[in-house]
């Protein structure tokens, strides 16, 4: 949009900078695992980088499974409305009164 103010994330350089800082923190957190002695209560907890791996793999699986769920759960937006609402005008409503 010409003439409009440039905002922070409109510049790709800024996005790259934020991402670099983020990657840096991630690397530091894993490195800390080998330096700091953690007290553990669960047998897998002691494995190096258990938490980072669990978080990363868990979330990837979460998203992939959720995406797969869409294949049989997703319906058009008016799926229920067609049955429940008699006319389209009733759909809107006031967001605030």
């Amino acid at each position: 949009m010409s003439g409009e103010k440039q905002y922070f994330f409109d510049r790709p350089d800024n996005i790259r900078l934020v991402l670099r800082i983020f990657y840096g923190i991630c690397a530091l957190l894993v490195a800390a695992d080998f330096v700091v002695h953690r007290h553990t209560e669960f047998r897998w907890e002691g494995l190096p980088a258990f938490y980072p791996l669990y978080g990363f793999v868990g979330c990837v699986i979460l998203v992939i499974v959720a995406k797969w769920m869409r294949s049989f759960l997703m319906r058009p937006e008016d799926y229920y409305d067609r049955l429940e609402l008699r006319n389209n005008e009733a759909r809107g409503g006031h967001d605030d009164v």
Binding site: K5, Y7, F9, L19, F22, Y23, I25, C26, L29, V30, A32, D33, V36, R38, H39, T40, E41, F42, E45, A49, Y51, P52, L53, Y54, G55, F56, V57, G58, C59, V60, L62, V63, I64, V65, A66, K67, M69, R70, F72, L73, M74, R75, P76, E77, Y79, Y80, D81, L83, E84, L85, R86, N87, A90, R91, G92, G93, H94, D95, D96, V97
Partner: protein, 564 residues
């Protein structure tokens, strides 16, 4: 001393609000939770207000540490939500919200089951008006479904109370537990419906997102937390709750990832947070119960904050679907920051409120040997960051630029969100204040190196997964859609089956009538056929054949006369 039960100020104010307009009403609504809080502080632990029905002694107010904490929480939540809704000019919504908050207070201080039942039903009756206040067709039908399920919960509770009264001769509301009796299970199920147990959870994801921007903030605070309180009082240490809670913590996050309506995402994440509380109650040790109650406290504040920020987006843009939003940080920086504080709190970042309470439940799970449950909760913690912590702020305020250039919401909304954000930070930084209010004495320090480090690792690598999936374009885009859930059975299968049944009955009826009409037609045709010209009855007969007939008849008589 003159003692006032905590629900009374709210009910009186609701009656007064009917007659007041403008500033006087606004002042009254702000004054009520503040005065109520002072009143509760003075009342402290104790009980009063006995009344009797039939042979049962009932108790209107009974406060111990458990109910007091919920009492304080509900006053704070009511204050925040009232400030957030201050710009409204809608008598129905404002009166209903005061009655609703009062009913929640009545329920947590009920000393006996019958008083609990009365406020249990009042909760349903008053809150449904907050759903209907949206005044849309969707809100109307969603409200009806919501009301039907809550009335079912109330009936189960009443049935359970009757059996309980028969068995015990007293209606005191204390530990009930599951056993070889019907009432234990009936009351458990009644609480479970209100607590959004799996298979009964859809009233929440159905009705809350259809309410008004302000109504949802009230709704998210009270109903489910009253159910958590009731479970904590009646069923602590019930092992079944551990598995129910783990399921609740886990399955909604999958739905939240693919849901488009951002307030519905929050509704799913509300069930996920309830899961942690239910697990805590199920474990039942003092650390676990404390964790569940503390998490209920924090959840009301940070989930309220998230609902408020999404309500603000809906209020100023008129949209709430992730597919239609994006780039709002440009013109709504304050709302963006407040939303991120709520997101950080629900994700349990160190220094934010979720961190100091969720960990208590997790620690209790592992200390009591629920290893698998602990792993599931850990997965749910990563997942909640993924969908509530990142998805909500990202798709509303960042992501692709939707071109919307909305202004910040009204000042009262920003003030309410700021109060909630300040509480999130205050509890996160100085958790001892909250810990001192918890039902059991304990020594627990959330901030140690291991805990902070592991939590940061978990969260940052969940975020890394989000970044990686987004950059690889593997992240599911926001799509305008509806996702099937348990509600499909009563929103689609049952109505369709009923329609099919009615249609089949009509067809059968039509066919039977058709056949009958055709039979009558044939009969008339047959009879009239004999009378038409050339018909048997219309012919002129010969006299001879008549005589022959008479002879034949006489012959038969003769024969009969001989034989008999």
């Amino acid at each position: 001393m003159f003692e006032v039960a905590p629900f009374i100020p709210f009910f009186v104010a609701a009656a007064l609000a009917l007659w007041l307009r403008g500033w006087p009403r606004a002042l009254l609504m702000i004054a009520v939770p503040l005065l109520g809080l002072a009143n509760l502080w003075l009342l402290g632990e104790g009980s009063f207000g006995t009344w009797s029905v039939l042979d049962f002694q009932l108790l209107l107010f009974r406060a111990d540490r458990l109910s007091l904490l919920f009492g304080y929480l509900f006053h704070v939540a009511a204050l925040i939500a009232i400030v957030y809704a201050l710009h409204l000019r809608d008598t129905m919504q404002q009166v209903a919200s005061l009655l609703y908050a009062g009913s929640a207070l009545g329920a947590v201080f009920a000393g006996d089951l019958l008083t609990l039942f009365i406020f249990w039903e009042l909760l349903a009756l008053t809150s449904v008006f907050l759903v209907w206040a949206r005044r849309s067709g969707r809100a109307y039908v969603a409200g009806l479904r919501y009301f039907a399920l809550h009335i079912l919960s109330g009936l189960l509770l009443l049935g359970g109370i009757i059996f309980y009264g028969q068995a015990h001769g007293s209606l005191e509301f204390g530990q009930i537990g599951l056993g070889q009796n019907p009432y234990g299970w009936m009351i458990f199920l009644a609480f479970g419906i209100k607590c959004a147990f799996p298979f009964f959870h859809n009233w929440l994801t159905d009705a809350y997102p259809e309410s008004t921007p302000t109504g949802t903030v009230f709704l998210s605070a009270f109903t489910t937390k009253v159910a958590v309180y009731a479970l904590a009082r009646a069923y602590p240490g019930t092992e079944l709750l551990v598995y129910i809670g783990a399921t609740m913590a886990c399955f909604p996050i999958f739905y939240a990832v693919i849901e488009n309506d951002l307030r519905r995402v929050l509704a799913y994440s509300l069930i996920n947070q309830l899961g942690f509380m239910v697990v805590g109650i199920g474990i039942g040790t003092s650390l676990a119960i404390n964790g569940a109650v503390a998490h209920a406290f924090n959840d009301v504040i940070f989930k309220g904050l998230l609902f408020m920020s999404m309500g603000a987006v809906l209020h100023v843009t008129g949209r709430i679907n992730g597919s239609e939003l994006g780039g709002l940080y440009k013109t709504m920086p304050k709302t963006t920051v407040l939303c991120i504080i709520g997101a950080a709190s629900i994700s349990a970042f160190p220094l934010f409120s979720g961190f100091v309470s969720k960990s208590m439940v997790m620690s209790a799970a592992i200390k009591n040997g629920y290893d698998w449950v602990w792993l599931i909760l850990l997965f749910a913690s990563a997942g909640v960051f993924h969908h509530a912590g990142i998805k909500i702020p990202y798709f509303a305020f960042f992501a692709h630029d939707s071109g919307l250039r909305a202004k910040e919401p009204p000042a009262n909304m920003l003030v309410a969100m700021s109060i909630a954000a300040a509480l999130c930070l205050a509890v996160g930084i100085y958790p001892q204040a909250l810990y001192s209010l918890l039902p059991f004495e304990m020594a627990y320090t959330p901030y140690d190196v291991t805990h902070v480090l592991t939590q940061l690792q978990l969260l940052f690598f969940s975020a890394l997964a989000f970044v990686w999936l987004n950059l690889r374009r593997l992240y599911p885009p926001e799509l305008p859609s509806v996702n099937l859930d348990v509600e499909w059975f009563y929103r689609r299968l049952l109505p369709n089956a009923a329609r099919g049944f009615v249609a089949a009955a009509f067809r059968l009826d039509q066919r039977l009538r058709g056949a009958a009409l055709k039979g009558v037609g044939n009969l008339i045709e047959g009879i009239s056929g004999h009378h038409k010209p050339e018909g048997v009855m219309a012919r002129s007969w010969l006299t001879g054949s008549m005589v022959a007939g008479v002879v034949l008849l006489l012959g038969v008589y003769l024969l009969l006369g001989f034989t008999l």
